[in-house]
């Protein structure tokens, strides 16, 4: 009776027997095999005893109270918090993008008289393009620019005096943005060269030294940040000619705000953007 008509007994049958998952149709064959082989039966008993000993040795760990940090509720709320933080960063980044797009669109006005000429001779920009930016403009001929800027931006905006360079104030423009309006001052010299000065709330409280960029089309831009505002000075002028003007504007922009408008300046733009 050592040979069975069915498949021979294998190690897998024996382990399934130990683990209690043996197919019932194999049970009789395995039991007959073990009955005929006491040494095999003893080996299997030893293995089962080892398995039980291992289970017993490790049981304490599963019986321990679980640490609070492994509670699903805690892990879920931690995940929600980090997702919320990521969301806030995304919102802030989007606001910056919007302001940047607005500025870029606005800057087009500062690319000298050629651009203004083109605009006069060509049909106006399609409505769809000009619509998203609600620009507000004022001219020195109709308004006191200093007072007008304070009214439109809610802030004191210093107006630099550039007459020593031959530039006279011509007008101003305000671009509303979620983190605070951007202001543009437009200067023109006797030859019709347009110079624009931009000032908007800085996205971060880090000040940045002045640097120079050559814009496509021949314009030159000097930019810097005092940690509260970003500034740009742009004109179709050689670098060395624009540089002293930019330095003068930088000094002018450091002018202390008048009493009574400090409240609006005290709040940093990043705090406004992040709520």
């Amino acid at each position: 009776m050592t040979k069975m008509p069915e498949a021979p007994i294998g190690e897998d049958d024996l382990h399934a027997f130990i683990d209690g998952v043996l197919d019932p149709s194999r049970m009789a064959a395995v039991q007959a095999f073990l009955a005929a082989r006491p040494d095999e039966a003893a080996r299997l008993r030893a293995m089962a005893a080892q398995r039980d000993a291992l289970r017993a040795a490790l049981a304490f760990k599963a019986a321990e109270p679980i640490p609070a940090r492994l509670r699903i509720g805690h892990l879920r709320s931690a995940r929600r918090q980090s997702a919320w933080a990521r969301g806030r960063v995304a919102v802030a980044a989007m606001m910056l993008l919007m302001v940047g797009a607005g500025l870029g669109w606005g800057l087009r006005a500062s690319f000298g008289p050629q651009m203004a000429e083109i605009e006069r001779t060509q049909p106006p920009v399609p409505e769809a393009l000009s619509a998203p930016v609600a620009r507000i403009e004022a001219s020195v001929r109709t308004a006191d620019i200093g007072a007008w800027l304070r009214r439109e931006t809610g802030q004191f905006v210093p107006v630099p005096d550039l007459t020593s360079f031959g530039f006279a104030l011509d007008g101003a423009m305000v671009l509303p943005a979620p983190e605070g309006a951007a202001a543009m001052l437009r200067f023109v010299d006797a030859e019709g060269t347009v110079l624009s000065v931009w000032r908007r709330p800085s996205p971060d409280p880090v000040s940045r030294r002045m640097r120079c960029t050559d814009e496509p089309g021949g314009a030159v831009t000097y930019s810097w940040s005092d940690g509260r505002h970003l500034h740009l000075v742009t004109a179709q002028l050689p670098r060395e000619q624009l540089r002293p003007i930019a330095l003068k504007v930088e000094r002018a922009m450091e002018a202390p705000p008048e009493i009574g408008v400090m409240a609006g300046l005290g709040r940093r733009p990043c705090e406004t953007a992040l709520g």
């Binding site: 030893a46 293995m47 304490f60 760990k61 699903i72 509720g73």
Partner: protein, 172 residues
């Protein structure tokens, strides 16, 4: 309030801690491993089939993290040749084992990693052969042969004899 799925997941935490501790033999590292595992699971929750086997899935994540952890540690140890790190890990393991038992754990340590994992998953955690194959990413046949070799080796160790494979190595 926890959802039904979250409750089922939390009910598996004690078993996950036991498996992690069996693999690492260090309480804090084991709980770090379980936390990593749960965070991965929560992050990938929506990608999982609802009718799948939650237990096997969690054990799979945990074991994969453990393997990559071990690789990372091994890389770091190799790069820095840091004997302090190795010593610290060995000591922590030794203390835990001394506190909590038993000869059988020391014998378990003598097994190769893959056999040890099979013995733990099937013998201690009660996973089926199919589930263990899923966790270890190997065919069921491989699970069976590892189970067979692991149990045989453990039995010989318990009898005070080394397994034939060790004797063979010694001869060579």
């Amino acid at each position: 309030m926890l959802s039904e799925r979250d409750r089922r997941m939390e009910a598996l935490v004690p078993a996950l801690r036991r498996f992690a501790w069996s693999l690492t033999r260090a309480g804090d590292a084991a709980d770090d491993l379980v936390q990593d595992c749960l965070e991965h699971a929560l992050g990938a929750w929506h990608r999982r089939h609802l009718d799948g086997n939650l237990r096997a899935w969690l054990f799979t994540i945990l074991y994969n993290l453990h393997i990559s952890d071990r690789r990372r540690l091994a890389r770091r140890a190799r790069l820095l040749a840091d004997p302090a790190l190795a010593g610290e890990m060995a000591m922590e393991g030794g203390q835990d084992a001394a506190l909590h038992c038993a000869e059988v754990l020391a014998q378990l340590d003598a097994l190769p990693e893959d056999q040890r994992a099979v013995l733990l998953l099937i013998g201690v955690e009660g996973l089926s052969y199919d589930e263990a194959a899923q966790v270890l990413c190997v065919p069921v046949g491989t699970v069976m042969s590892r189970l067979s070799r692991g149990r045989e080796r453990l039995r010989r160790l318990a009898e005070g004899r080394s397994a034939p494979v060790t004797a063979l190595r010694r001869v060579i």
